[in-house]
């Protein structure tokens, strides 16, 4: 009995350790993004596949994260979303912070004065399906519902540059011109997404 338990542990342990590093579930660039339904802060449900035909930007956010704060202070997201909104690009913020409530989002929205909706993903379902690691972690989805860009918002993780290169602007522009974004993938930076532990 003792022996078999020990053996079993010996055999299974490396697998258990190894298993969660395989993130085959999250889409790579070129893959269809998962089709799930998520509510925004007003309680309205959005089915992602309903936005086929449009370029969609997802911005993982967490208002307590210094990186997010820095970008909101600089109006990075507000300006870009307005600029792209004029070209029929849909912008969603997504908050996968386990403790975030719709009223927190509403308060933040009022303080910052931005227009777009924030998908309420406190369960972390969408975030984990997409493989979101950081705030901000940006995703641009093409009109076919396939992932076209994922990664950082810009090339300036430390906020030192006066004119950082904004990857999302570049990716959206390329898609609107019928081109493939380049780069299509960058290393996202920021705080880790505060997922609910399960």
């Amino acid at each position: 009995m003792k022996r078999s338990t020990w053996m079993a542990a010996l055999l299974v342990l490396p697998w258990m350790l190894g298993s969660h590093t395989v993130q085959a579930a999250s889409p790579a660039v070129g893959d269809l993004v998962p089709d799930v339904t998520v509510k925004d802060e007003t309680g309205k449900a959005h089915k992602l596949s309903d936005y086929r035909g449009k370029v969609v930007v997802f911005e993982w956010t967490n208002q307590d994260c210094p990186f997010v704060k820095r970008h909101y202070k600089a109006d990075t997201m507000e300006k870009l979303s307005a600029e792209l909104g004029a070209k029929e690009v849909v912008w969603f913020a997504v908050n996968s912070t386990y403790s975030n409530k719709p009223e927190d989002t509403l308060a933040w929205k009022e303080k910052q004065g931005f227009e777009y909706l924030t998908l309420q993903d406190a369960s972390g379902e969408l975030g984990k399906l997409m493989g979101a690691k950081t705030t901000p972690h940006m995703y641009v989805v093409n009109p076919d519902g396939k992932l076209a860009y994922q990664g950082a918002i810009d090339d300036d993780p430390r906020g030192r540059s006066d004119s950082p290169k904004n990857y999302v602007r570049g990716a959206a522009a390329a898609l609107l011109d019928g081109l493939e974004p380049d780069p299509s993938s960058t290393q996202p930076y920021g705080c880790s997404v505060k997922y609910a532990s399960n």
Partner: protein, 796 residues
Amino acid sequence: MLSRLGWRMPSRLGWSCLAALILLVSLAAATAGAAPEVPEGARAGAALGGPERAPRAVLSLLLDRERARPGETVRVGVYFELESDWHVYWRFSGESGLPTELAWKLLPQDASSPPSLGPLRWPAPSVFREDNGFITTYGYSDELLLSADLTLPEVIASEADPAPESVRHRIEVEADFLVCKIQCIPGRASLYRELEIGPRSVAADRETVALFDRFEARTPMPASEAGVSIEALYSQTAVRPGDSFRAGVAVTCSPTNGRDCGPLRPGVSPSLGSFVPDQTPGIELSASGTRAHPLIEGGLIVTLEGRAGKDALAADLRLRGVLSLEGAHGPLFVDVDLELPTANADATVTPLASAEEWLVPGPEPAAVAARSISEVLAALALAFLGGLILNLMPCVFPVLAIKVFSVAELAHAGRARAVGQGLAYTSGVIVSMLALALIVVALRGAGVAVGWGFQFQEPLFVLGVGTVLVVFALNLFGVFEISPDLTRVSQVGEGATGNARSFFEGLLAVVLATPCSAPYLGTAVGFAFASSAAMILALFATIGVGLAAPYLAITCIPGLSRFMPRPGEWMLHLRSALGFALLGTVVWLLSILGSSVESAALVLVLAFLLVVALMTWLFGVLQAGGRVWPARVLAVGFLLLLGTLAPKLPLEARGPGAEDEAESASLNAQAFDAAGVRESLRDGKPVFVYFTADWCLTCKVNERLVFEDASVQAEIESLGFDVFVGDWTRRDEAIRAELARFGRAAVPMYLVYSPTEPASPELLPELLTPTLLIDALKRAAVGPVRAADHTGGDAT
């Protein structure tokens, strides 16, 4: 009576257990390393620059010299003291976070020959995995010293004075870092210090120098300096954009280096920290685990999962990172910088099946230094239990039968004598176990790979055991007597109770037990073989204690022997009968020999044994006649003759491969061959592999009772299994390596492969039943169903 029994047991049995316990405690003490201390003086040393209070972190700029001479090399570094649970990041932060950055400025910048600063030393980082296991980052908690070598100019000069006695250099550093616990706080600190360069060189306080040394020791070094060889393995010939692949870093002790780096183990817990990948543009790499090197003893493969992005990959991409391992001489930190072959998206790449199989986390060699006390205790408990059960194995039966017999005798003899004999037998067992352990340690030290039961692969050893058994049988027949005084004639039935004889019986029990021990000791011995020498000795001794325990208990606990029958005439008959049991064992031994030597040689062996019997008889005659000296001379001559004759017998083992499949006809098995197994799996066939040896009775029992079972044969036929047999009767490196791959040091081993999961066969228990085997076969043939129930969380 009962209370007396309860009190007696620990006192009598206890001393050997106590010895094991003391050994355990000292082992534990040795493995518990000294906790690092933060030197108090370190911060004070930075008073000039002033320790800067950054959020959750205190930074100071340290130098390992207070004053320096021109041309000297000074270590400079930024020391981070972090609040507990907060961490800063490595040069590659992983999936979130931000690398720690240091920007140095050396003043005056206009100096004619400015000092030069070497590369930053990054100590091997830790792996941080968030509770949900979703995000992995690399960095440092508690404390960090990032240092570099500052080489001072040979000549000092300043604008004001071309040849001053001393100058002051100012060292400035700007640290930019992110410190995280759950929340993250970006931090920035500016620190500076002045260093006087002049005729006098003064070292910094001892604590500061020790701090530099401690972190320098944690800095990875090139493989050649660490005494290891590293090699990258990939599951395909090249990585294209969009590919998912497996990779591995194979680490082995470098044979060119004189220093033995010992069996390598994952050095960090969890083992995923054994390799921390550096940033590879366009490719995500994450450690998935480690496994024993399939071909090289003591080697290790760190397995990685990789995924390439859609963008074109740089042609000169490297697999870079840091290995943190545990070697024979403590931790090893090795820099990895290996080729990472890339190709265009439209290129054709070939999957490398052989590598694929090695690139999944596998049975891991347990860490030598990181053994927890509970693991050690479990292994020792297992060893004791295994030794106990060994008494029921067929191999030990003859000896055990003799013991039962002498117990009956002793039960009614004096108590002191009974206890003496019990202890003599126990010492015999333990001494021979320790001898065996020392042989294992020595062989391992000499680089010879051994497995459990290895002795029986040596024909001379088998012959030696056979000889001993014949002599022993003749003794039981009453041909001669064994007593400390070789010439003392004693009454039959009385002489058989000598302590020397008990000791000798202990030796014999161990010798005979080894081939039978696999089923119960495989795990413990596998553990032992991967352990330190002290652990091997402890485990083997504990197995011995287990083996001797029942006999010791009977002799030491007075209550028990009362149930033994009274001695009488029947004992003489039993004695002779047991002699025949021993001769039966000789027949079995000869059958082992017969499978590894020519049959003509077997006749010579029989003749040899006849000579042995004749000599023994002559000795007995002289002994009975009370002729002391002739008996002694004969004994010596006899031993000399044996010594010269035995090696002359044509017992060279035939090489592996000859007549291998002869007796496994029942399952229509082919000889084991890793490539053949892979091929069958590629053809979509399930595969059953079994490892056996003629000297392994458990194997033979399984083969007789299970493999020859009609329902098993029908199932193998109908499910379309390919069957492979690895015969380990004679030494075979490929088979030993395959056993080691699954953490085993002994046969039998049974593996059932499903074609849907060629890399993870199901390992069956050593004792099979037809139902058990059929169920496993069906699971493998059905395939994917198994993935969920066998490997645990793999599917999630």
